[in-house]
């Protein structure tokens, strides 16, 4: 299935893009989507601890199953003021 992944704030800088489409196996979750991204870019790995995920613009758990066509957003905490 295909999932559109969007990156926000500092994660957008680290990923070098605002979004990308990921091809994932059935049963994939935000966690497995994140792991697929980290396989391409291992340097993203340490950002996981404080990361939030939103599916179809709704904040959610990393272990909830994704569906084909979902929009998955990864949101790092932002502190600038």
């Amino acid at each position: 299935m295909q999932v559109r992944v969007r990156f926000f704030a500092s994660l957008r800088d680290a990923a070098g893009r605002a979004e990308q489409v990921l091809e994932l196996p059935a049963g994939a979750t935000p966690q497995t989507a994140w792991e697929a991204l980290c396989a391409e870019r291992p340097e993203l790995g340490p950002r996981r601890a404080s990361l939030a995920a939103a599916v179809n613009r709704r904040y959610g758990r990393f272990d909830a199953p994704l569906a084909d066509g979902d929009e998955l957003a990864f949101l790092p905490p932002v502190s600038g003021g």
């Binding site: 926000f8 500092s10 800088d13 601890a49 939103a54 613009r57 904040y59 502190s79 600038g80 003021g81």
Partner: protein, 368 residues
């Protein structure tokens, strides 16, 4: 509540013609108290609009001085304010805009002072620039039951949300844990488009005014994300997490890690500054990290002995207290001790420059 004066009726005429505000709403604003944390990029527009709107009491918390590099976005301050304390500069600017508003200057909030500050205001607007302040404010607002109007900016993107309303999420529901140190470019490295905190801080002011007036739909349970480059807003729906360490069904204070300062840690205290703090209203606790033998030969009055090599095992003894000052013989071991304590999540830790030797050299006047 007393009637509005003739000059108030003139000043707030455009509020008074709004049926949703009117004289009663304006009186509510006059009775309102808002704490703005950070007189920077977000705090500037937020505080200016709150003062202009006639919020009766505005607290401004900040420990910094105005720098030339602030002026690109921090519209409370002018060229003539460079070098001045940000709270003094902010107070002057707000009172120039609206002399009817009371402005209270607070210093930098820390674990020892945040609870009292939050309790004295009705709404907290977070315009700080570091995760330490943000997690401290979130936790204090949850405990005190105060709405926490969050705003943050990064380069061309900003986010706003209201946390801590009944049934709504808090910041820790979204990000239970702070990011690991070193991964966040929050100080000067990332940069920010000057107008971006203007947009986000103004949205924070709008939310604070709505909360004081009891109007509309507060931005609770959702986060608004503004992208200046795309010229668009995203809205992410948020929900309270029953497992949240701060606002969950079973709050777990021990899991509420307060992160390190995103910026450099504070410089070591001079003997003079330590003496001043010890004489103040909330003196710090003193910890001697030298060996018990060195401690026995002489130490600062009232200090307890926890040798550096035992510090990690005895962290819990220190966690409950307020501000801490650690010292050693000359300042080397205490710098390591302070770094260790900060990385363990203790929010207000200083070390003494020059250690016990400097204290002794300062002479008997240095002994409180």
């Amino acid at each position: 509540m007393s009637e509005l004066s003739r000059s108030e009726r003139a000043r707030y005429a455009r509020h008074l013609v709004l049926p949703e505000v009117g004289p009663e709403g304006q009186q509510r604003l006059r009775a309102g108290r808002v704490l703005v944390v950070g007189a920077g990029g977000l705090g500037s527009p937020a505080a200016l609009y709150l003062a202009a709107a006639g919020v009766g009491r505005i607290g401004i918390a900040d420990g910094d001085q105005v720098e030339l590099s602030n002026l690109q976005r921090q519209i409370l301050h002018t060229d003539a304010d460079v070098g001045r304390s940000k709270t003094a500069s902010a107070r002057a600017a707000l009172q120039a805009r609206n002399p009817l508003v009371e402005v209270e200057e607070l210093g930098r909030l820390d674990a020892a002072t945040v609870a009292d500050a939050v309790e004295r205001f009705d709404v907290v607007v977070d315009g700080s620039d570091n995760f330490t302040a943000r997690y401290l404010l979130n936790d204090a607002c949850v405990r005190a039951g105060r709405p926490y109007v969050f705003g943050a900016v990064h380069r061309f993107q900003g986010q706003v949300a209201v946390f801590g309303l009944a049934g709504g999420p808090c910041y820790r529901c979204l990000h239970p844990e702070p990011p690991p140190p070193g991964l966040v470019a929050s100080c000067a490295e990332a940069g920010v488009l000057g107008v971006l905190p203007g947009v986000i801080g103004s949205l924070q002011a709008a939310e604070a005014l709505k909360l004081l007036l009891g109007l509309g739909e507060p931005l609770s349970g959702r986060m608004l994300i503004f992208d200046a480059l795309a010229a668009g807003f995203d809205e992410i729906a948020l929900a309270r997490d029953p497992r949240c360490p701060a606002c969950g069904d079973a709050p777990r204070p021990e899991a509420r890690v307060v992160p390190l300062e995103a910026c450099a840690p504070p410089p070591p205290l001079s003997v003079h500054e330590l003496r001043r703090r010890l004489a103040g209203d909330s003196p710090p606790a003193l910890v001697d990290v030298r060996t018990p033998g060195e401690h026995a030969l002489g130490h600062l009055p009232g200090s307890r002995s926890i040798p550096l090599d035992e510090l990690e095992a005895r962290l819990e003894e220190l966690r409950a207290g307020g501000a801490l000052v650690v010292y050693c013989q000359s300042g080397v071991r205490s710098a390591r001790a302070a770094a260790l304590l900060r990385s363990a999540g203790l929010a207000s830790v200083s070390d003494l420059a020059g250690g016990y030797l400097a204290w002794q050299a300062a002479g008997p006047a240095a002994t409180p």
